[in-house]
């Protein structure tokens, strides 16, 4: 029972961490290595509005998410657009932005354990003799809503359809009058907001620490590689595979090996099926 409950929670948490990364790559083909930094930054910004300025918690979260969206759009418009199409430069540029954000936060004094966000709902409940705190239930609920919301957005809205069109074939989308640069800006803004949302949902379970940015990036990359770069539904499925594998590892081998699961998943996927479960880079298959 505990494996089922905590496997599901862990999987949804991983999906939340990875969705933004998968969405941005799927649409703009830019691997946003600043993803983990944005996750942490949203936590610190929410904390600043909540604790520093005394704003309402919900309002602090909304402001933080809007700021993350704006940040994502600006990062693309003024930095990443210049290196778009040059894969190595995209990685270096976005990773450098992430480093600057994370180490800038550390330099600015955001270190130690005193930065925390309150849980949305206090208390816990017993399900099948297993204690679950309400914040994890909130994470599961929001995670499911976000996945459904993203699906609806990309299937029933003009912008969403344009994003999908661009993800499928950028040249064809251009011929249909879709502004690919604008769509990439929108994708980056949504991706940054998703990273921020993951941050404000998951960080109340612990503390806001700079190091989380690096861990989240590794996990997001692992999920996206296993799921197939560019496929956000593949990312959701991969999150469940890795999430359950991690919990099984903790139960049967020990917590010590939990992180190894994600790293092994990357290695085995790249060896056996480099395009991932639902990858769009079929040419990778042909190389194996």
């Amino acid at each position: 029972m505990d494996i089922l409950i905590y496997g599901t929670i862990n999987s949804i948490a991983l999906a939340l961490m990875a969705l933004g990364f998968a969405l941005v790559y799927g649409i703009s083909r830019v691997p946003n290595f600043a993803h983990g930094a944005i996750y942490v930054l949203s936590g610190f910004i929410t904390w600043t509005f909540l604790r520093g300025l005394g704003l309402n918690y919900a309002l602090s979260i909304v402001i933080s998410l809007v700021l993350m969206g704006v940040l994502g759009a600006l990062l693309y418009q003024f930095m990443l657009i210049r290196v778009r199409g040059m894969a190595i430069s995209e990685i270096i540029a976005s990773y450098a932005i992430g480093l600057a954000i994370l180490e800038g936060l550390r330099w600015g004094g955001f270190k130690g354990m005193s930065y925390t966000l309150p849980v949305f709902v206090e208390g816990s409940v017993m399900i099948g003799g297993i204690p679950i705190d309400f914040q994890r239930i909130v994470v599961v609920g929001f995670g499911a809503l976000i996945v459904l919301g993203l699906w609806a957005f990309t299937h029933y809205t003009r912008i969403g359809l344009a994003l999908r069109g661009m993800a499928q074939d950028e040249r064809a989308a251009l011929m249909l009058g879709i502004d690919s640069d604008l769509m990439a800006v929108v994708a980056m803004a949504i991706g940054a907001m998703l990273a921020g949302l993951a941050g404000v949902l998951l960080l109340p379970l612990g503390n806001i620490v700079v190091e989380s940015g690096y861990n989240v990036l590794i996990l997001a990359i692992a999920v996206c590689i296993v799921g197939g770069l560019g496929s956000w539904m593949g990312a959701v499925l991969a999150a469940f595979l890795i999430g359950f594998a991690q919990i099984l590892t903790v139960v049967y081998l020990g917590s010590h090996y939990q992180m190894v699961v994600a790293l092994l998943a990357i290695i085995f996927t790249l060896i056996l099926k480099p395009s991932g479960l639902f990858g769009m880079q079929k040419e990778l298959e042909e190389r194996v």
């Binding site: 849980v119 816990s124 204690p131 139960v251 020990g254 917590s255």
Partner: protein, 423 residues
């Protein structure tokens, strides 16, 4: 008129010598204390602050009398980064070597902090014949085993704070009190994947089993772990009544938050639990860390009346830094500077051989009791009584405060159980 001017000048000069005794010391060449510390982490920054406090006090009082010449201390801190996850030991060794070769440190006080790095640094310190007092975080029993085994090589190294074996003794004595009072006898061990924690957890498991405790399991977490829920469920399912935690990573406060949220019916007992040592722990866990027990290694790192110097140090630290002493390296780092001053003054020289000989003869009533080193292994001599040796401290978080609950000789309160553990 001219004579009157000379007279005023003479009076002013005389006053300067009489009123400002420290001025002369400050004019002399300073004695450089090299401090290799992991400054981004608690055990680094609290040691840094404590060393600077002691140095400021000593310099303000005139400095160190070296063979009749008063010389001030000067502090050179270098970041070893050894407490940061993934940083190799070589970084710490580089910092130690830079302090010796570039900063021309006369003595080393402080770290490296992580046991792996400190043990590796011992050979380096011996090579340079630099007297070094380890003051924070370095809990591995291997230290004094190495000094005892190869005295001639490692004689320059001293450790002025408690170590893992003594910690286990204190914890077991405290466990016995809990067993007698509340009838708890099942323990689950949670350790961080670092040398002192793995070693400490293993030793505690063996000792506890030998003393009739049921050790239900050990869970090892990599540095930087942020989710402990499955480990807590394991402990709960196994029927644990005490969670024995060996972690110095700040993320351990998350463990206590999750323990509270899941209402795990086991008393959290930190052997080294950096997060819970700090006054900021209450705020960081939003009060969810209440009832957490924690060994802060030496008295003075939490308020108590161990000796007349304890609260004097505690208050001076709080006044200078605007925060109470935060972690296990505070009082020991402070005392190390005074102990070194005492040894230098008795030696009348900065010569390593002479100073180490005097350090071995140290007998000083300090912040956490009587400070003496075992001359064979250079470990500070511990005791449960501050009149006899360096006394430890186990605190419990009660109503937002760190209350010393062990040993009895300095306790300020009794151990309490969380409401969901009361029958």
């Amino acid at each position: 008129m001219k004579m009157r001017g000379f007279g005023i000048l003479a009076v002013l000069l005389a006053a300067a010598f009489l009123v400002l005794p420290g001025t002369q010391a400050l004019a002399e060449e300073p004695i450089t204390l090299g401090c290799p510390l992991s400054t981004a982490y608690l055990y680094g920054w609290d040691a840094d602050r404590a060393i600077r406090l002691a140095v400021d006090e000593i310099n303000a009082a005139g400095g160190v009398n070296v063979g009749g010449v008063k010389r001030p201390f000067k502090v050179e801190v270098m970041d070893t980064r050894d407490l940061e996850p993934g940083v190799p030991v070589s970084e710490a060794l580089l910092a130690v070597e830079k302090l010796i070769l570039e900063k021309k440190a006369d003595f080393l006080v402080g770290g490296p902090v992580r046991s792996e790095a400190a043990l590796a640094a011992m050979s380096l310190l011996s090579k340079h014949k630099k007297v070094s007092i380890f003051t924070t975080g370095f809990l591995s029993p291997q230290f004094h085993a190495m000094v005892a085994k190869d005295y001639d090589k490692f004689k320059y190294c001293f450790r002025i704070h408690g170590e893992a074996v003594q910690l286990v003794k204190e914890i077991m004595a405290c466990f016995q009190e809990i067993k007698d009072k509340y009838g708890l006898d099942k323990v689950f061990i949670m350790v961080q994947d670092v040398a002192h924690a793995r070693g400490g957890g293993e030793v505690l498991g063996k000792v506890a089993t030998g003393k009739g405790w049921q050790v239900l399991g050990t869970e090892i977490y990599p540095t930087g772990t942020t989710d402990f829920s499955m480990g807590l469920i394991k402990a709960k399912k196994a029927g644990a009544q005490i969670l024995n935690i060996w972690m110095d990573m700040p993320e351990s406060s998350i463990l206590l938050k999750q323990w509270y949220d899941m209402k795990v019916p086991a008393l959290p007992f930190g052997s080294t639990l950096a997060a819970a040592e700090q006054p900021g722990f209450w705020k960081a866990t939003e009060g969810k860390g209440e009832y957490t027990l924690c060994n802060v290694v030496n008295a003075g790192n939490a308020p108590s009346d161990a000796t007349p110097w304890t609260m004097k140090f505690y208050d001076a630290y709080a006044k200078k830094w605007g925060v109470e002493p935060e972690g296990l390296g505070s009082s020991s780092s402070y005392m190390a500077v005074y102990v070194l001053k005492d040894a230098i003054e008795r030696a009348g020289s900065l010569d390593s051989e002479k100073v180490l000989a005097e350090l071995e003869k140290t007998d000083l009533m300090g912040v956490y009791g009587r400070i003496r080193f075992d001359p064979k292994n250079h470990q500070v001599i511990p005791s449960f009584d501050p009149k006899e040796g360096a006394v430890g401290s186990i605190i419990q978080w009660q109503d937002g405060k760190r209350v010393v609950v062990f040993p009895k000789s300095i306790a300020k309160g009794e151990i309490q159980l969380p409401p969901w553990m009361k029958k």
